[in-house]
């Protein structure tokens, strides 16, 4: 547990993704089996101990610690697991100071600083490194897995007794789930690939097929065993991705055009009697969309865009609503009947990766498309429809169609090489995304906040606003990208030189600087006073030339709402 606890501790305080990656890589290389497998499962939220709940921990604490002291401490710390880890009674460390007037180091009331080496009486004994009795992650997982509701408190107590404060924190986070150390499944997989110099695509495919603690995965990674066999498993296929189109004109006899829908890319897999829904990063998100899992009853793997149907956001009835509507369904662990009824989900299918046990990924797009068109009618049409290809005879016509697209659910155009197989990741020349031109607005900087990591000393996050008809400035968005390093320096100086108020880490600035903000779309939002929310806003230009009074009005932005 010592090594795992140290890893958790470091991850809590490390903000940069690369540093986190390095920490996990180092752990995976050096920790023993099966500890590292369990650790990986804990980091990615794959562990569940039904007998141990937050209530178990609270009840256990109540038996060891005064309730009022726990309440005061919990209030101060703000997190039950951390409070419990810090509060858990342990033998106090000995301390020695002077006792009685005129003791250590005092002569006639004058204190003499000690020499460079400390007097023996000042030595504090450190707890021995083996103070936790060599408890391993595996022992902890075994003990928690075997726990029942009735003996869980006793088991947890005996484990807590054998750990120090950092170990107790790691134990409780592991037991209760929700590490919150900023490690996504994707990052964990990358760490595995990097630690053992294997392809991330292989790791992604194997990941969901092998249960924790992933012994065959480590054996394969270290070259001790062949690649595990994935027949009859609903495993994830890494997505094929697109490069942005930058000014090139493509020949439409080589490339087919499709709409790029503004939802989330998903993969639905049915195999071995099981259906799974994966997001682009390979996270399983089926629990939030049970209606899709239930409706997908064919042995196949599809790639498509998850959307919600609806008038909810002003979309055409029966068509796809804007991304804003979809957001109501994202990031949920469970879903209510009301949500299912108000925001019904469906998948607009782009591609067919496997069907009836045959892997189609090696076939050219044209052949996969033929099979896809034959396959989609086998699915319930209320939940699955085919993403149509755009009929255009030449590139100029496509550009016109793209410019004229008014559907809120259209994010742009995809161009796919007709003879390309389905390959993982972004490969040059195969797929292109050609997003609609961003919308732009001239806004006034209102507040600024410092960034993270390398940007910790720079005011790099800006809140900006537009004018109401009454001449009041209301915030319409927040951006922290789009500028060059030189512009960042300039903006940072502007913020420092024009601060008029401070609210904790936030500075309010003089309302004099106009920022040209680019954004993909803008939506009605009840969460903001302006009633507007921008999608992916970034700073396009700094308009030092423009007076703040000439920045855009809220009404102008409202007219852009989709």
């Amino acid at each position: 547990m010592k090594r795992f606890a140290a890893l958790i501790d470091r991850l809590v305080y490390t903000r940069s993704r690369n540093s986190k990656l390095a920490l996990i890589v180092d752990y995976l290389k050096h920790a023993p089996d099966p500890d590292r497998g369990w650790a990986l499962a804990a980091l990615t939220g794959a562990l569940d101990f039904p007998a141990v709940k937050a209530g178990t921990v609270r009840a256990l604490l109540a038996s060891r610690v005064d309730e009022e002291l726990f309440r005061l401490s919990r209030h101060f710390v703000g997190d039950t697991a951390e409070t419990a880890a810090l509060l858990w009674p342990e033998k106090p460390l000995p301390f020695r100071g002077g006792v009685g007037v005129g003791s250590i180091g005092l002569a006639q009331g004058r204190w003499t600083p000690p020499a460079a080496t400390k007097p023996a009486s000042w030595q504090v004994s450190l707890p021995s490194p083996e103070g936790e009795g060599g408890l391993s992650v595996t022992q902890v997982v075994d003990a928690l897995s075997a726990a029942t509701r009735s003996d869980a408190p006793a088991i947890l107590a005996s484990l807590l007794d054998r750990l120090d404060a950092d170990g107790r924190y790691a134990l409780l986070k592991l037991a209760l789930g929700g590490m919150r150390v900023g490690v996504s499944a994707r990052l964990a997989k990358q760490a595995f690939a990097q630690a053992f110099a294997v392809a991330i695509d292989d790791v992604e495919e194997l990941w969901h097929a092998i249960p924790s603690p992933y012994a065959p995965l480590f054996a394969w990674g270290e070259g001790r065993a062949p690649r595990p066999d994935l027949a009859d498993v609903a495993f994830f296929r890494p997505f094929m991705l697109a490069h942005p189109l930058e000014g090139e004109n493509l020949d439409l006899s080589d490339y087919v055009a499709e709409w790029k829908w503004d939802g989330i890319r998903v993969q639905i897999v049915r195999g071995g009697g099981e259906t799974r829904l994966y997001s682009r990063g390979g996270e399983e998100i089926g629990a939030a969309f049970p209606e899709l899992l239930a409706a997908f009853d064919q042995d196949a793997v599809i790639d498509g865009e998850l959307l919600v149907r609806g008038e909810a956001q002003g979309g055409v009835e029966g068509g796809a609503a804007s991304f804003n509507a979809l957001q109501q369904r994202l990031g949920r662990k469970t879903v209510t009947k009301r949500m299912l009824a108000d925001y019904p989900a469906f998948v607009r299918v782009y591609d067919l990766l496997a069907v009836d046990g045959n892997d189609l990924r090696g076939l050219p797009w044209t052949e996969r498309r033929q099979q896809l068109e034959a396959f989609v009618p086998r699915l319930a049409d209320s939940r699955f429809d085919l993403s149509p290809v755009i009929e255009a005879t030449h590139f100029g016509e496509l550009a016109e169609l793209r410019a004229g697209a008014r559907d809120a659910a259209i994010e742009g155009v995809m161009l796919k090489r007709r003879d390309a197989p389905y390959v993982a990741g972004r490969r040059a020349g195969l797929w292109y995304k050609w997003k609609r031109d961003p919308l732009v607005a001239d806004c006034v900087m209102m507040y600024a906040q410092r960034g993270n990591g390398r940007r910790a000393s720079f005011y790099s996050d800006y809140t900006f606003g537009c004018w109401t008809d009454a001449g009041e400035l209301l915030p319409v968005g927040k951006a922290y990208s789009g500028f060059t390093d030189a512009e960042l320096k300039w903006l940072d100086k502007f913020v420092r030189d024009h601060t008029i108020d401070r609210f904790g880490p936030v500075r309010e600035v003089e309302k004099t600087l106009v920022l040209e903000v680019a954004f993909d779309s803008i939506h009605a939002s009840k969460r903001h006073k302006s009633g507007l929310a921008m999608r992916f806003p970034r700073i396009a230009r700094i308009r030092r030339d423009k007076p703040a009074e000439e920045a855009d009005r809220i009404a102008t932005l409202r007219a852009m709402v989709t």
Binding site: Y13, G97, L106, G109, A116, S457
Partner: protein
Amino acid sequence: MAKAKPWLEPHPHGLYVRPADLWIDPSRPVERAAVTHGHADHARSGHHAVFATPETLAIMALRYGVDAAASRNAAFAYGEGFERGGVRFSFHPAGHVLGSAQIAMEYRGERIVVTGDYKRRPDPTCAPFEVVPCDIFITEATFGLPVFRHPPTEGEIAKLLAAVRAEPDRSVLVGAYALGKAQRVIAELRAAGWTAPVYIHGALEKMCQLYAVHGVDLGDLRLVGESDKAEMAGQIVLAPPSALNDRWSRRLPDPVTAMASGWMRVRQRARQRMVELPLVISDHADWDELTATIAEVNPQESWITHGSEGGLLRWCEMTQRKARALHLVGRDVEDEGGEEEA
């Protein structure tokens, strides 16, 4: 027995000793003040006469100018004191920072001890806390909750040194309060065998010099402002906490942000301050020290000031000790802003 004693009165801006017409650590200017130690929330400027240890007077003179060292002030070494209005005052080590003292007062056979801030752990830069038996014990409670148990200082210093060695191309920037914490961290580093120069922010310079004058050897100190960026790679830099994420830190080679404070025990606190390397090193007693000290002094009554009074009050209740909370204003127990200290 210890009923409400009319001769020592708690007021929001300090403790007033009526027979002596004297205030202890008042938060606004008064005629006569006895001051426990030099931190700004205890030692304010503008008093007419100050009674304190020589080190505390020197610190006040450094911070507030020559006025604090005027002839009407009086300096008392540990164990020494004075009498005024029938009250016998004496100063005893508190183990908090250089010159920090508990103030003991005896009047008509009753003894009251005001701790100011204190700790029980060894500190190479100041005299260790001394237990003074008394009837009423007025204790601080900065870390008066059982979640605060500071780990051994040696382990935290080892963590700091490991971080320095792990990142030879970066400097490790340690946020430490300018009076006490900074010098203690340097002295602990020296005790652990770190002989390389320690680079300091200009705001720490004078206080480090003052410590040296009082016999605390801090080794080779260099000002960041007078040093090359490249030379500070793989080295330790100390600055006041307010400078940690400020423009000032850009002159350092890709610094790892560390902070030495008892508040670092709570992860969320460290994260809020964007600290990458929290060092739980405190100049205040932790929960175990606070409770053990009350038990050791074993007064008839404990008065609890500034901090988490609630936790310590509850402990006194559980152990059948008489206690009350005093609500003094102007004590910095939070770690925001420039004057933080813990």
